[in-house]
Point group: C2
Chain length 124, copies 2
């Protein structure tokens, strides 16, 4: 099968545009992969939180997973970790400015999720 047959059967597409899109998407997903990172960033969008507060807010996450995910997010400069020398030591996690650039992604995901729940409640 040669190029022209291929081009006749299916609409021509800019393959570079296409693979650049995939690459960019993969770059993003590499950092956001897993079950917990996006939810964590999502709640930190409301303001800083302490470790146990996060754990309470994000139902079902274990201490181990939370500390692992927080470490990775910190490595990627999406959040900061601040130790306060209070009575029992407390640690605050907060989105960096860079982390805040994810707000649009998260809010799109949020509104799609809301609408999707509607859809499956009614339609299906």
């Amino acid at each position: 099968m040669n190029e022209s047959v291929q081009a006749k059967t299916f609409p021509p597409r800019n393959s570079k545009e296409c693979s650049s899109r995939i690459l960019a998407i993969r770059d993003a997903l590499d950092i956001l992969s897993g079950k917990w990172k996006i939810p964590i960033i999502g709640v930190l969008g409301f303001g800083k939180l302490r470790f146990k507060e996060l754990q309470r807010e994000i139902q079902g996450i274990t201490g181990k997973m939370l500390s692992k995910e927080l470490r990775e997010l910190e490595l990627n400069k999406l959040i900061t970790r601040t130790v306060k020398d209070t009575k029992p030591v407390t640690v605050e996690y907060e989105l960096t400015e860079y982390g805040q650039t994810l707000e649009k992604v998260i809010s799109e995901l949020h509104s799609w999720g809301l609408q999707h729940r509607q859809t499956i409640m009614n339609g299906e």
Copy 2:
């Protein structure tokens, strides 16, 4: 520790707002989970494609994974699968209208990924 102490130490937050956000995000992620679904939807955003075309476009995916992911996306009404009775049988995959509602999520992810690549190239 009682409510008032909690409220003094950390900024009051609307906990319902917060957990509703997490719920919605999880609803979305449940459907989009895994390494391949978002890239698949991403390329189908450019127009319909056949099985082997998809496999060529999405580098690294195996036939098994591709057919599995396509099946799941079809179950969730995000894509349609159309068998054409051509010489060797061909099958076209296409975003449904519903699948197209993910376009905003995908494009946000795309542009964040692009910008992130810039950031780590320069900064780090």
